[in-house]
Amino acid sequence: MKRRLFVASSLSALGLAGCGQVKESLTNGPFRGVLLSTENLNHAVIGTHGLAREYRDADVDRQFRVNGLDTPSDAAYTALARGGFRDYRLVVDGLADRPQKLSLAELRAAGERTQITRHDCVEGWSAIGKWRGVPLGTIVTMAQPKRSARYCVFHCLDADQSGQRYYESLDLKQAAHPQTILALDLNDAPLDLDHGAPVRLKIPTQLGYKSAKWVARIELVAELKPLGGGAGGYWEDQGYEWYAGI
C-alpha cells in the first residue's frame, strides 16, 4: 500500500514539475489549430438566435462598471468633448453605395430603441444597463451596402499604451439583430466619457468586448484579414474569439 502511494505521488510530482513546459508547448504548438477550430463549431451550432432578456428599470446598475482601454485623452477627442460633441460625425463608408456622415442629431432622428440588457464580460462578471440609441441595422441600411460587403468594422477613438487603436467587427447578420444598437444614452443620460461618448456599440447577444466604445467610423468590408492584426478586432488579435456568443 505504502509503495503504491509512493509511486502515485512521485508520478504526480513529476507531472506537476514538467507541467509548465507541457502546457506551454501544447498551447502554442501544432495543437493550437485544433483548439482554434472550436470557434467555428460554436458559431455554427449556437450562432445568434432569439433575443437577449430585457429587464426592468429596478434591475439597472446605476453605477455601470467601467472596463476596457483608457478613455481617449488626445487633443482631438478632448476638443470634441468640450464642444458637447456638436462637431462629431459618425462616418459610414467602405463598400457602400451611399456613404454617410451623421451628426448626433441625425443619428437620434434615424430611429430609436431603448433596451435594458445585461452586459456579460468575457472575464465573467455581468452588469445591467439601460441603453438607448439607434439600431445598427438602420444605419447600415442607410449606407446601402454593396453586394460584396460582409462585415461592419467599427473604428474607435481609444488606443492602448502602444498606440494600437481599438476596433471591432460584426457580420451583417449580427449587425441586423434588433438588439444590436449604436447606443447614445446610458441610464437615461447621454453616454459619459468613460462609457464611450458619444457613440458606442451595444450587442447584448455577445460578450462585452464586442460592444466597442468611442465609435468614430463604421467601415463595410468584404473580409477582415487586411485590417489590424487580421482577426477582426483588438482583442481578437490577442487570441480572443471573433464569435463571442459563448
Partner: protein, 286 residues
Amino acid sequence: MTTEAHAGPLPRAAAREDAGRRVYRHGILARTAHWGWTLAILVLVMSGLQIFNAAPYLDASDKSNPARRVLAFDAQRVDGHPAGYTIVFGHRIPTTHLFGYADDGMGEESPRAFPAWLTLPGPQDLADGRRWHLFFAWLLFLAWAAYVVSAGVRGKLRELVMRPEDFRKLWPMQLYYLRLRKEPPPHGTYNPLQKLTYNVVVFVFFPLLILTGLTLSPAVDAALPWLTALFGGRQFARTWHFTLMVLLLGYFATHLTLVLTTGFWNNMRSMITGWFVLGKHDGVGP
C-alpha cells in the same frame, strides 16, 4: 463489454470460487469514454480555474452583486507583507501562497485566486484558457453522448441505472465497505453504491456541468432564456458550475482512493486492456 464476465460482479460467493480467473470487464467503448473524460475533466478543471481567475468571485444572482457573494479571493498587504485570502460566505480565511496570493507562473507570487500550477495555461491568459475550455467541453460532451447512446442501445445502461430496490441496499453496502458487515448485499454488475455514484456523475453532474457552462454564454441565454432562469441567472449559473466542479473533484478523490486500495494494478489493467483478475476485492470496485 462482453457478456460472460462482469466483474465488480456477481454475488460474492460466486466470485470467491472464481478467484484468479481473468475476466473481460470493460469494453473498448467504456475504456475509451473513461480515459476520454478523465483527460477532458483534467483540462476543463485547470482551464476553468484560469477563466475563474479573471473574475475571482461567485455571486448567487443574475448580474454581479457583492451583496450576494458566495466565494471570493483577495490579496492585501498585512504588516508590509502580501497576504492572500479566501472569503467563503463572508468568512476570511488566510490562504497566502495557495489561494488569493499565489504562484503566477512567471517565477513570482502575485494577487491571483488559483496558483499557476493549477491553471491552464499557467500564467494569466484568459484567451487561451477559454480556447482550451471550450474545445475540451466539446470532447467531454461527445464522449458522454457516445457512451450514453451506445450503452443505451446495447442495453448496458440497464445494469447501471439505479432501481428502487438498490436504494434499500445502500446502507448494507456501506456497512460492508466499513467492514461492519461480512457480505455485501446481492447485486448485479455494479453494487448499489457504485450505481448511485456513477448515476450521479454520469446523469447529474455531467449534464448539469455542461448546461450551467452553456448558460454563461450571452448567445445561449438569448436562445434558451428559460435555461438561464432555471439556474437563477448568469452569475448563479457560474456559481453552480463551480460548485459542481468541486463536487466532481470530491467524487474523483473517492474514486482514486478506491482504485488505489482495491488492487491498483488490477484496476488499471482492467481499465486499459479490459482484463480483470477476479479476487478477494471483487464487488468493491472504484
